[in-house]
């Protein structure tokens, strides 16, 4: 048996760990175009902010590959998959065979298609190299323009503000974090971010990056020019599906994966930001390019590559962010688009607390908690298990809501809550 894994971030690493719980001896080869993997992608902005030192970004020990008996081909790109021969071709002209292959190629930052985007001083923020390159030029930077008001854009803004830079964020849509939270929650977050000196401009997009060789500003679609020496692009990511697509593996937005994380090709699996799976809340095929989903998919794909029959229940959009001491967590559908959904909201403006659940047919499909985030995982479990919450829906947003309040629902549930940890509740209630 020879396992090959393309990609060595969250999904790839989780897969290695999972394979090794079942198969201690077979050969595992990991191919990664990153020279120094094993860092946490989510911590890149923390590194840039200077809130953690470089040591902390390595979320696995540097002997990880050796300890797991993995042959790591680093700084090498997997270029082609030959599905019939079960072989992949590498950028160093070598070919390697596989019995089981995992495609965990991740995603790449979407770059804006505007003039001047290739100028010196324009960066996405996706890899540790990006953070290091940005850091290296910070001495010469007074002002920064961030294009995009999503998670990465705002994390970058926070980081650079923390480094003492004048930071402005340009957001095409009418509110920040529009993929993750609703307008009310976004309003609370925006106020806090602006109070701390980051400028946010909504409804504005850049149409050009100005400057000769290096950036000296961005030209906005309202005609004005904003001077800056550094531009960070935070426009989301697109999945790296090309290698799979070229090999004839079924792709849609991402690589189409079934409930075992198998692709359309035998013995080829996919996991992480490249993988399109069932979204539990949306009840349709979708990509949730988030760290916990990548890890869980990697784990299950790894187990199944090693011969198990572990089912992946599907992914849920979920994000946790904090700016200047104000946290927000959201799970599932937070901005319902049709009348089929009901919302329950509780606010305490003085305390910056905002809580919302989104329901469909008596089942929670989404939640947002601002500033009071404890116990949100319980609601996540209710979403995941599609539990009828009619009997508790009026107390869910109260401060005293906790695990005890859903204990009867767990005992009653015909589906879900299969994990052994729920047994004591079911048994003794």
């Amino acid at each position: 048996m020879q396992y090959v894994i393309i990609g060595s971030s969250a999904a790839g690493i989780s897969a290695i760990e999972a394979i090794r719980t079942k198969d201690k001896t077979s050969k595992i080869i990991v191919v990664s175009d990153e020279k120094k993997p094993l860092y946490s992608r989510c911590l890149i902005s923390y590194l840039l902010a200077g809130t953690i030192d470089e040591k902390k970004i390595w979320y696995r020990k540097d002997n990880f590959f050796k300890a797991n008996k993995v042959e790591a081909l680093l700084g090498i790109k997997a270029e082609e998959i030959n599905v019939k021969k079960k072989e992949i071709s590498l950028s160093n002209k070598e070919k390697i065979k596989f019995n089981k292959l995992l495609i965990a190629t991740g995603a790449s930052p979407k770059l804006e298609d505007i003039p001047g985007i290739d100028k010196k001083g324009v960066f996405p923020l996706r890899t540790i190299e990006h953070a290091i390159e940005i850091q290296a030029m910070l001495d010469k930077v007074k002002s920064v323009a961030i294009l995009g008001g999503g998670l990465i854009g705002l994390r970058a803004a926070y980081a650079l503000k923390n480094r003492g830079k004048e930071t402005s964020v340009f957001v095409k849509s009418s509110s920040i974090l529009s993929q993750i939270i609703d307008k009310d929650a976004a309003g609370i977050m925006q106020r806090r971010i602006e109070e701390k000196g980051i400028k946010i401009f909504t409804g504005v997009a850049a149409k050009e990056v100005a400057g000769s060789k290096s950036v000296d500003g961005v030209v906005l679609d309202n005609g004005s020019k904003h001077g800056c020496e550094l531009v960070i692009i935070g426009k989301g990511v697109s999945p790296n599906i090309e290698i799979a697509k070229d090999a004839g593996i079924k792709t849609n937005w991402g690589i189409v994966s079934d409930e075992f994380l198998r692709t359309s090709s035998e013995d080829i699996f996919s996991a992480g930001d490249v993988s399109e799976t069932n979204d539990i809340a949306l009840e349709e095929s979708s990509i949730n390019a988030i760290w916990p989903a990548a890890c869980e998919q990697g784990r299950i794909a790894g187990l199944n590559m090693a011969g198990e029959n572990e089912i992946y229940e599907g992914s849920l959009a979920m994000n946790s962010i904090e700016f200047f001491g104000l946290p927000v967590i959201s799970v599932g559908i937070t901005r319902p688009k049709s009348g089929a959904y009901k919302e329950i909201i509780k606010k305490d403006a003085g305390k910056n607390i905002y809580k919302k659940i989104v329901l469909k047919d008596g089942i929670i499909v989404g939640v947002i908690f601002v500033n009071s985030i404890e116990n949100i995982g319980i609601i996540g479990a209710l979403i995941k298990n599609k539990t009828d919450v009619s009997s508790v829906k009026d107390i869910i947003l109260e401060g005293y809501f906790d695990y005890a309040k859903i204990a009867p629902l767990i005992k009653k549930a015909k589906k879900g809550f299969k994990e052994p940890e729920f047994k004591e509740t079911i048994m003794t209630l």
Partner: protein
Amino acid sequence: MKKIYCDIKKCLGCGSCEIACAIEHSRSKELDKAISESPLPVKRRKAEFVEESVSISTGCQHCENAACVTGCMSGAMYKEKKTGLTQHDRDKCVGCWMCIMTCPFGAITRERQEKQVLKCDLCPDRDKPACVEACPTKALFLGTLKEFTKTCST
């Protein structure tokens, strides 16, 4: 794997477990001193009411397939190989709250100033966790699921 279980039938919701937990995780480990410590010691268990006169004491369940471990982006939450317990490494934690986002029991709390999380560590300095020892009705039990099941039926 040995961990703490709660027999809901025996739990009074008295909160003795909460107090014992907070004291054990204080600097002084003595009630009269702990209450004046700053920051105040934080409990890692909650005794809460299911309904009138039915209550449960919950904390970290040290889940076999722990969502907090799988989802931890800094590697701070990990499984201890020997014991199977879910442990937390303060040096690695960055306070991203992803574990709070994924814990189905609401068993993880924030330590806001320190940007750290807190959860049950099964009292490493003691033979028996403080909450189990403090429980007046023996609703809390330290042992394996099999052992716990046996005590429930007797």
